[in-house]
Amino acid sequence: MSLAETASRRLLMKGNEAICLGAIAAGCRFYYGYPITPQNDIPEYMSAHLPPIGGTFLQAESEVATINFILGTAASGKRVMTSSSGPGISLMQEGLSYMAGSELPAVIVNISRSGPGLGGIAPSQGDYLQAVKCGGHGGYKMPVLAPHSVQEMYSLTMLAFDLADKYRTPAMILGDAIVGQMKEPFEAVPYVPTVPLDKPWALTGCAGRHRQNVKSLYLKDNAIEVHNWKLHRKYLQMQAEEVRFEEYHLEGAKIAIVAFGTAARVSKTAIQWARKEGIAAGMLRPVTVFPFPAAQVDAVAKRGDVVLVIEMNTGQMLEDVRVSTTCHDKIRFLGKPCAMPTPEEIHREIRKLAGRAE
């Protein structure tokens, strides 16, 4: 599939496949992975579609190997992606920490499931904390994008590649079984790079230049401290420049839902029903969950009566909402750890909070 072929076409595809299309459009020609539900459509798609365009698909012996294949290809200066779910993402954490420390860009897709342990494969948002708080050792961060539609599975994947390159960091797409498996039409817009694509730091053999290395070990003097502050400044810059969110019917909203991904998608229906009944409900939807739209959460909390956090877990993003605002008494939570909340359930909760009869 050539770039021209994918240019601005209206397509009907699964979310997981849209991720592949977005990656290929963004110039990703390397994919490595290991099977795990509910993301198998991604390696399956890549194994069929990368070789004909000169790309490389390789199935690894484990997610530990996968993330280190990724590290090697990223160090070579190529755009590269993997995908997995809960337990597999856990196995990648050491490698992700090395990549953060070595400043290597790549895109990691987590079509998450419920945990802990083997957990369940039903739609869940069980990996929020692992994704945004630093799942591996050493205290790094990475951009984490939370798509809530097939369109976003496509376009946020392209953005993830740009953010990864801009900051020389791994970047994550945090999805779930619903956005991964559902089919809906989307616009496959052409990829327009927002960052320079050359990588002078890549390890390509030292022809015509001094040797270079990719590493995270800094033993001499206080080089490790200097390096840690350098990484920290990148995370501050992400917080200043990369916060992305959607405001949905927030005008005059007294009840402001804060939800991401599938939970936000379902909330939209409930909000429409509530608005028809004259209830001033709206939603702030974080599109980047790191960096988190903290200032925006604080603003809606100050303006409204209630901040209703809805997640497919027992309250993970809830922690970020709490630290974003001092209006703690306005925060409520609706959680479903191992399933999608229905629009009816959310609607009922909104009505209750608005003081309407059952």
């Binding site: 390397f30 490595y32 490389t56 390789l58 690894a60 012996e61 484990s62 530990v64 190997a65 996968t66 280190n68 294949f69 990724i70 590290l71 090697g72 290809t73 990223a74 160090a75 070579s76 200066g77 190529k78 590269v80 050491e94 490698g95 090395y98 070595s102 390890l203 390509t204 053999g205 030292c206 022809a207 015509g208 040797r211 270079q212 290395n213 990719v214 590493k215 995270s216 070990l217």
Partner: protein, 259 residues
């Protein structure tokens, strides 16, 4: 003496390989990591590979590979060098890619990565330095530790009933179809060093001819953690270590064959 006469009588017989950086090493006296480094650098020079090589360093005493060998180097997490090398080689098949790993790194935590890289016939070269212990972390027991050998975590000596047997990686990897070349060498005598150079050249050649995975296991010393003088450490390699880990070529593919 006039210059021409001096040149005539002092033909240079021994020089630093171009790819070996001129710095003081951090290795302990009597450690053979330095010899292995030099042999690798010589082979890089021999094939003119300096500008097209990417090395992958492991976690262990040889983690500073990039300070010594004058080529691009990536650092891999402990044990994962063959996986990192896979990612490099798949992205840049025209480059020369090697890993340099210790025995804790390759034969314990990284067993899965090296076995599967070999089994895929990954066209990379592995330099494996077996000193029967975890040198960097202070001489703990490794899977390669000899029976009866006392280490900081086998203070009563390694007992096969508890810890099993020293693992023979050169033999094990030679059984895999994807392995093109597997040999075990030592660097305790000039004769052994000559054979080691030959083995490394062969292993490099395999990769250049795209024959598949190649590995050279070096029986090496760790006088510091063995609690031995360098000379005694050298004797141990030629003695009990070579008896249990026989030197030799375990596999050598003659032509690129496909099953």
């Amino acid at each position: 003496m006039k210059t021409e006469t001096r040149e005539r009588f002092t033909k240079q017989a021994f020089a630093r390989p171009k790819s070996l950086v001129d710095v003081k090493t951090h290795f302990c006296p009597g450690c053979h990591h330095g010899i292995a480094h030099r042999i690798v650098a010589e082979a890089i020079d021999l094939y003119g590979l300096r500008e097209k090589t990417i090395g992958v360093a492991c976690v262990g005493c040889s983690v500073f590979l990039y300070d010594y060998i004058d080529v691009d180097v990536a650092e891999a997490p402990h044990g994962r060098a063959p996986a990192v090398a896979t990612g490099v080689k798949r992205a840049q098949p025209d480059k020369f890619v090697f890993t340099y790993q210790g025995d804790g790194d390759l034969a314990a935590i990284g067993t899965s990565e090296v076995v599967h890289a070999a089994n895929r016939g990954e066209n990379i070269t592995v330099i494996f330095v077996n000193n029967t212990t975890y040198g960097m972390t202070g001489g703990q027991m490794a899977p390669t530790t000899m029976l009866g050998q006392k280490t900081s975590t086998s203070p009563y000596g390694r007992d096969f009933r508890k810890d099993g047997y020293p693992i023979k990686m050169a033999e094990l990897l030679a059984t895999l179809e994807g392995t093109a070349y597997s040999a075990r060498v030592a660097t305790s005598t000039p004769a052994q060093i000559r054979k080691a150079k030959e083995a490394v050249r062969k292993a490099f050649d395999m990769q250049l001819k795209e024959m598949g995975f190649s590995i050279v296991e070096f029986l090496s010393t760790c006088p510091t953690n063995w609690g031995m003088k360098p000379v005694d450490a050298q004797k141990r390699v030629s003695g009990e270590m070579s008896e249990y880990f026989p030197l030799g070529v375990y596999k050598e593919r003659k032509q690129a064959d496909f099953l």
